[in-house]
Symmetry: C2
Subunit: 143 residues, 2 copies
DNA sequence: GTGGCTGCAAATCATTTGCATATAC
DNA sequence: GTATATGCAAATGATTTGCAGCCAC
């Protein structure tokens, strides 16, 4: 059940610990781009000894190893995502949902930009999601 | 001297106040993507009565009106920029400088992405800037 | 004249730090 | 056995809130 997370950690020469495995599992099963608090309070139920500090530490370590990525798209708190294939993010300013955007973006690839060596690219889109548009249409009479 | 900032505010039906004018002037004259503290401590010198809260309030109001934009590219603090033409940002992970990237990105235009209505696009690039690369080359023998 | 803006102090929220204990390897 | 990770409590840093007085319009 945890094999793939064990492998992920091993591949990066990181020690296999419960908090790390549980956090990876949580991120793998919840594509909601949770903040630290959401991860912590969910895992805390099954692992009462877990501390917030450990969530912070684990995420930091795994981010440095590019196993997870952190998003700063929304307000002051960091949100986290499994670092799968390159993708960008969309924030709905109405309902706050964060969605993955799986588009390629030629000029935004990992390349040299103006002489600077680019290692990471984060595309943040903000607007109104499909769902919220639907709701608004429903309330209007003139489409 | 302040005419263009007055016009900016008037165009958005915002009241013309000293803090707003000074903040706009500061951003216009400093393309360093400053955080709140930098703006505050710089303006405080000439306007001792200025409060941090007012800097926060003014920036929030002007951001809502799209006169300025806030960046969340670096760590936990917000950084600010005059909201001129569409451009993206590059963060050097060595020296921390934030640079404007003036590239177009076809797929990242303000358009409909997967049915979502896009109003804003922020491209964040991270890596090593030209200057820091130069420094590193100087220290190596096998360039 | 009044609604919105400013500025102070206190509160809150996210994150970091210091350190003693525990655990993976 | 040892370096590293965990977890607690306290500290810090950024931002928000509540509110009284002020000012642009």
């Amino acid at each position: 059940m945890y094999e793939k997370y064990v492998k992920l950690l091993k591949d990066h020469n990181l020690k296999i610990t419960s908090p790390r495995l549980e956090i990876l599992k949580y991120l793998d099963e919840h594509h909601t781009h949770p903040n630290v608090e959401a991860i912590y309070s969910s895992l805390k139920k099954k692992h009462p000894s877990l501390s917030r500090t450990t969530v912070y530490n684990s995420l930091e370590t795994m981010e440095k190893n590019r196993i997870v990525q952190s998003l700063t798209i929304s307000g002051s708190e960091h949100r986290y995502d499994l670092n799968k294939s390159l993708h960008h993010h969309f924030l709905c300013t109405r309902c706050g949902i964060i969605l993955d955007i799986d588009i390629a973006c030629p000029n935004m690839d990992k390349t040299l930009q103006g002489g600077h060596h680019v290692e990471e690219v984060h595309g943040y889109f903000k607007g109104i999601c499909k769902n919220c548009q639907k709701k608004e249409k429903g309330w209007r009479t003139n489409g």
